[in-house]
Amino acid sequence: MLGRNGCKEILQKVLGGSRADQTEALIIAQDISLTRFSNSAINQNVSEKRETLFIRVVIGRCIGSASTDRFDDQAIQRGLERATERAQLQTPSESPRFLPRPKPFQPITFFSDKTARYSPSQRAEDIQRLIQMASEEGLLAHGAHCTGTVEMGIANSLGVDAHCIHSGVTLNTTMTGQGGSGYSRFASRNIEGMDIQSIGREALEMCLANRGARPIEPGNYEVLLNSYAVSDLVMSIASIGLNASAFQEQRSFMCNQLGKQLLGENVTIWDDGLDTGGFNTPFDFEGVPKRKVIFFHDGVATGVTHDSLTASKAGAESTGHRGPPPGNKGPIPTNLFMRGGDSSMEEMIRSTERGIYIHRFHYVNVLAPKRAIITGMTRDGTFLIERGKMTKPLKNLRFTQSILDALSVVSLISKETKLVAPEAEYEIPFLTGSVVPALKIENFHFSGVSETDTSR
């Protein structure tokens, strides 16, 4: 890690060397380690140290950008030249393209020294415990355990000067054997709260209960969704419709719907990058403080997230949602929350005459964004519920469902919520997650059943 002063020195070199009207420099430094295990043995074990400098320059109403992993004077100069050259090529925008001005951001706690220093042997010890638990029941353990830190320093020529370091841990495990499979996932800024026994037990019990799955006819069913499954649904609608880019380009299901009842009155969903219950962070990738944005209040559509660019088009203020460079995916919400209710999974099961319990989804993808129709498979725990009890494990099912319709008929919501983070980060870890409850939904459409072989 470079530290505040180390970052500042490089950022000031960039700003000092630029001849553009406005200049922004961003450093992202990662020190991340990840241990993967499969078939009850560690099979991949990696450590990454990466520092990258991103430069944006504004000339008139044009923006160019460049990035480099090298921090020497020549590389900085080359980056500035490339960014400037690209800005000069552009047709000036009709709408202003300015970098954000500085705003104060809230000091929040997001760093744990113990998490940052967690060693390969400590991760291996955690994994050994999971393997042991699985082994005692004749099962195999698989998964990934990731710990580390991400540092962000950002400065621009208008006075933005922001720096933070955050730690994080994620651990997911799948246990398999005897024809069953079960799953558990944990995420936090702080490893102190990680309970290996509890993580292992969830996956193990699900696997043992899930043996001998049988197919069921596809169709419409009442469903009980664990938080893992709810997270997939909420993250999906966030990426396709809850951001201003989709809204401004008429791609979003929120278009012409603000102020209208789109979901059930018991559903409230928001984004809050400052909430310590999630993967909180004080500012976005252009140094704008994070603000809470409510998307649905008691089911009524109320807003979308903005970055500086979409905000300037809308005459609004950025909500602190610019994504990682180059930022062209739009201001995608990354810290989602769904309001908990007063129920529990046990009560949901007890109150169900006939329905399906879903532990998690797999490979969820969008079919029709304007209607929020998505498809995906169930995985690692699908059960038939009959007369208030989970009676039979089921083969994996394919669903094809409008999420807006599903969230309009939520009958019960668990009091307990859980932070669910993505399983594999392709860009920067420990920044994205959703804190969601379990749900009971009155009507959910399954369009197919898998012929999955569960003999492993």
Partner: protein
Amino acid sequence: MKDLIYTILDLGEAKGISYADVRVVEESLESYEVKDGLVEVAEWKEGYGFGIRVLHDGAWGFACSSSVNKIEMEDALTRALGIAESSGMARGKRIELFPIPTVQNRYHTPMERDPFAISPAEKLSLLIKAEGLMRGKPYISVSQAFMDIYKVRKVFASSEGSYIEQEIVECGAGIAATAAGGNEVQTRSYPNSFRGNFATGGYEFVEGLDLAGNAERTADEAAQLLFAQPSPSKVTTLILDSSQLALQIHESIGHPVELDRVMGMEVAYAGTSFLNFEKRGSFRCGSDSVNIIADATIPGGLGTFGYDDEGVKAQRIPILQNGIFLNFLASRETAREVGSQPNGTMRAESWNRIPLIRMTNINLQPGSWRFEDLVADTDDGIYMATNRGWSIDDQRLNFQFGTEVAWEIKKGKMGKMFKNPTYTGITPQFWNSCDGVAGEREWRLWGIPNCGKGQPGQVAPVGHGAAPARFRNVRVGVMG
């Protein structure tokens, strides 16, 4: 650099490491996007770093850094060794590598015009022209043009004595028009969705795409989709265009033949495979019309290279022959486990990732039909083109795809356009229902630059050759 790498490998040997490899990777990327008349993205990116992989006492360790110097490399070697020792705390079978010949060689992508030598202004003008032809057309709310060019110079050196230098150049481009009207939004893309088509090669590939020549048709089709009927829901005969078929090959054949998936090494994330060792050589995964080859040597393929990131030479391997499953994609580690051969398919996204088994160019061999004859021979069916979405289960059996557009086929003729087409199936049943593949005239290589795999996630550029093909008794029109 060579001296520094050998110093590090010698140091590894002195520390008693049984195997080590060092990769030093230098990357350049230019990315452009023109949207609604503005240059939305004009990005230049360079990356530089190294990764050291060690096999110590039968267990793996890997460490990397973006600071390329002797001190950092020595530190990374020490870290990698420590990590390998930790791996040993929960080691399964002792890992051994399939022996391969050592190689000292160089490889570079053949090309006519280095895309990095073309000025940014020229590249942007190509996009601006194409985007401008779509903008302002009736119902078009968003018009976009994309271009990405990428160059990687990488050195691979192993403690066994291999030293390989490669320079691989990739480029591609595409356009997309989004039409909006009422509560409907539809997008058409050319030549493919998700930023276009990509290949290894020079700028001549981008120029050959003729984005401008296809811009108006693309925009017109997007607008027509607003008024098209929804795709019918039924079981029918399906003809897929070659770009959608490329993704079908990718998801339902390419991933299932990755040996790490078969061996359970991806259980917790991407999943496993419906294929297993017993099925090799006998399992009918497709009809006689289905012949699939993994070919890392084909000119222009996005998965074409000289050597993989274990130093194994690029190869051409039969995967399905007359529908019978023959071979997995295998690494040195997995091949050793199952008594097979490594086939040059281990690639890492960059210096900061370990190599994984990745598809190369997984190509459906051309058949003997002409596309117009496939249509003429179909009494009642549907033709779908250009991928819009995909999903498949963790054993790669139950899949569902959506495409941008479809057309009815009635009595051997193409009819009305349908919007929101989808189809679903079970992998072996689907490929066994294939009764016709178009020939070389319509066979085309498609590049997918972002195949995701692994934890931490990494993307790989892969290719798929395909010609339009016909499938019988397919369920279409699944929409909730």
